[in-house]
């Protein structure tokens, strides 16, 4: 019954006026970001990190979490109405959602997306509350060897779930690990690869790199895509939000399946919301009696991915809160937000900061409720925002990002570094390298190195320690078999199939 007591405590925290306000701001900003193409969740969270300095830690994290799941919401709105996915997570929603809108059924599509998201959000909230405590106990049994193996597993997951070539994804992770080693060595204090630049002595800021690779690089890329994107706005008024009984009957199983799939994929490191929505769509298409309906306005094609991405966005907090390991780039930024406020993520957070953990969990449920209430009536306003031309939006984003990075440390060098990483990110895009594994590698790098060194020190230099400790051996075995499976041709074609969905 601990769970209920904990949740009750969480709601007490989350319902305080200041936290409610933070939750609302987070949800609104998230929706805005989700609606506007060309600016992603990662860049936004990175941009808003410095803003949270002045806030109490609980409020700050509630707001940042709100941005993350709010963006999943907003992305679906534009996908359905204008066929422009504002977020990578809602790319598949556009396939069937926009078809429905063209048939004059935009209302039901939006409603089902919202209901599915809300349901998934509720389930995920309960799941976090349920899994939190036992996983924390497990985490206490983890030594450095197990932590290292767990992170290897996480990085391998990131490879398996990444788009495109496996080799390239691994290379990106290792590149990220290398970048994470710039700066002072944790144990000896020796300056590594810093070239006597004082600003590099503390290492490359994670927010700086994230802003460069996901913010600036994205802008530059959009600029050379050139001319205004083709926006066939759905002009007619949206009438009749209510889905019919048949819609509800069709979409209920899809929502359930999407929620389950999304919850699982969210917990797995490296996955997160993007893969969840793709996988849920593919699953629905496989299970459907008449797969031909997909792509022509099947309501399941909206319900499943929307529930899946919302569930995944929320369950990805589980590894962060219990093990202290961020499973994706947004969670990595949450680590940054926590450290700004002097909180070290890990198993001890649950005990030492119950306000923070349970308050955040409860706020997710409240946030989801807010989103469903706010968003459906406000759809018109969000769509109007899309008419803001990109030629005015991109300089504004550049300036906002620049001020944001500058204010983290009041260091102009950080701004230049972010610019350099913007160019690096542009180069990565041009050569079809995925930037997400790079960021994950960069975040896990210091943790990994520290645990590797500690494990080897304890075992007196014996590398076999990773295989003789049972838990660590199991984790490594899973990682190895996953990697093997991915390289096998049969599974590979399946994996490619999941991602080609968006192109046709």
């Amino acid at each position: 019954m601990d769970i209920f007591a904990n949740l009750a405590h969480g709601f007490a925290v989350a319902l305080s006026p200041i936290n409610l306000l933070m939750c609302l701001i987070g949800a609104l900003v998230g929706t805005l970001v989700g609606v506007l193409p060309g600016i992603g969740t990662i860049a936004t969270v990175a941009m808003l990190l410095p803003i949270t300095f002045g806030l109490p830690p609980v409020g700050a994290l509630i707001m940042l979490a709100g941005i993350y799941y709010g963006a999943q919401y907003g992305g679906s709105t534009t996908s359905i109405l204008v066929n422009i996915p504002g977020e990578a997570t809602s790319v598949v929603t556009a396939i069937d959602g926009h078809q429905m809108a063209k048939q004059g059924r935009a209302g039901p599509a939006l409603a089902i997306a919202a209901i599915g998201s809300f349901f998934a959000g509720c389930v995920a909230t309960v799941l976090i509350a349920l899994l939190g405590a036992p996983l924390t106990k497990l985490a206490l049994a983890f030594g450095p060897a197990e932590y290292f193996s767990l992170m290897v597993l996480g990085l391998i997951f990131a490879v398996v779930l990444a788009k495109g070539s496996v080799l390239k994804a691994i290379a990106m992770i290792v590149f990220g690990l290398l970048l994470s080693m710039v700066g002072s060595d944790i144990e000896t204090g020796a300056s590594r690869m810093a070239f006597n630049i004082p600003e590099l002595a503390d290492g490359l800021g994670f927010a700086t790199v994230a802003m460069g690779v996901f913010g600036f690089a994205e802008i530059i890329r959009n600029l050379d895509a050139g001319a205004e994107m083709n926006r066939d706005l759905v002009q007619q008024k949206i009438t009749g939000l209510m889905p019919t009984r048949k819609d509800l009957k069709d979409s209920t199983p899809a929502i359930l399946r999407g929620t389950v799939l999304g919850s699982i994929l969210g917990i797995l490191p490296g996955g997160g919301a993007v893969i969840a929505s793709f996988a849920a769509y593919t699953l629905e298409k496989k299970l459907a009696k008449d797969p031909k309906r997909f792509g022509r306005g099947a309501i399941e094609g909206v319900a499943a991915p929307e529930s899946a991405n919302n569930a995944a966005a929320q369950t990805s907090f589980i590894p962060l809160l219990t093990l202290g390991i961020p499973p994706n780039a947004v969670m990595a930024l949450m680590v940054g937000a926590m450290t700004i406020h002097g909180i070290v993520p890990g198993p001890q957070v649950m005990q030492k900061q119950p306000d923070l953990v349970w308050g955040m969990i409860a706020s997710m449920w409240i946030g989801n409720l807010m989103l469903i209430i706010i968003n459906l009536p406000l759809v018109g306003i969000w769509v109007r925002l899309l008419r803001v031309p990109y030629r005015l939006m991109f300089p504004s984003i550049v300036i906002f990002c620049a001020i944001g990075i500058y204010s983290v440390n009041n260091a102009p060098v950080d701004v230049i570094l972010a610019g350099v990483f913007g160019l690096v990110g542009y180069w990565l895009i041009k050569h079809d390298f995925e930037p997400a594994p790079l960021l994950l590698g960069m975040v896990l790098g210091p943790l990994m190195e520290e645990n590797l060194r500690r494990a080897l020190l304890i075992s007196r230099g014996d590398w076999s320690v990773f295989l003789t400790r049972p838990l660590s051996a199991v984790l490594l075995a899973i990682a190895a078999s996953l990697l093997l499976l991915t390289v096998l041709p049969a599974l590979r074609s399946k994996r490619d199939e999941v991602f080609t969905e968006s192109e046709n």
């Binding site: 300089p395 001020i403 701004v415």
Partner: protein
Amino acid sequence: MADTMGHSATATRNTSVALGFCLLAIAPQIFEFIWSIGTIFGWGAGRGPAAVVMAHATALFAGAPGALIGAASGDTKKASSEVLLALIYSYPLFAVAIVTLFMTIRSAQDYVGGVILMALALFALWASSDLQGMRGFSFGAGTAPRMFGGLLVALSAGIALTGLLSDGPAMAHYAWRGPLFVMAAILFFALSIRSLGLVVTAFASFMIAATGSNETRWLEAAIVGACLTIGCAILFPYVLGLPMPMFPRFLIQ
């Protein structure tokens, strides 16, 4: 006829790719040279341009081969950082450039991407070459960077190889206008925020960034830029409480 045409086309492309790699191989040296020009005007401390050129030229043409021969004959004298740069970074890339001349590149996107990534890895290996290695059981500062650097060299070589062995997309088109002006805006912001203050810097950077698109209408951009500047000038220092210089220093004094 068609055959020879095709052949000559790939040949010219390969030479340009190889030349590009050669340039990449001495890019750090060139960068240090450009950087050292600043010392003439008294910016920064360090060697002058002439000293830089001399040091790197001797390292590239005499020091490194000498060190190679020395290593072969069992002489373990400590090499200077320039010689190490030539040995670890430049020579392998020159080798790759020469190999490129004789290869058919089937996917330029993978091949060039792999080689550039390899250059980054080699550079990291060089940058961590002065750090301490293993001491008994415990890792030195340099162990992990060298480990992952080596791994990245191997992986990027693998990527470059797939570019030679399997068909794939050619090089993507790089635009210059967007990157140039966005970078210029970022640089301008970084260099002038301290002395010119938020108001001037934000507006000027906005206009520079706006130049990056050929769809920009100037009046419209100026109005939006002004509004954004006012918004930021209120939001960041007052609402969020982040201290920031607002106006140019010479105006305040």
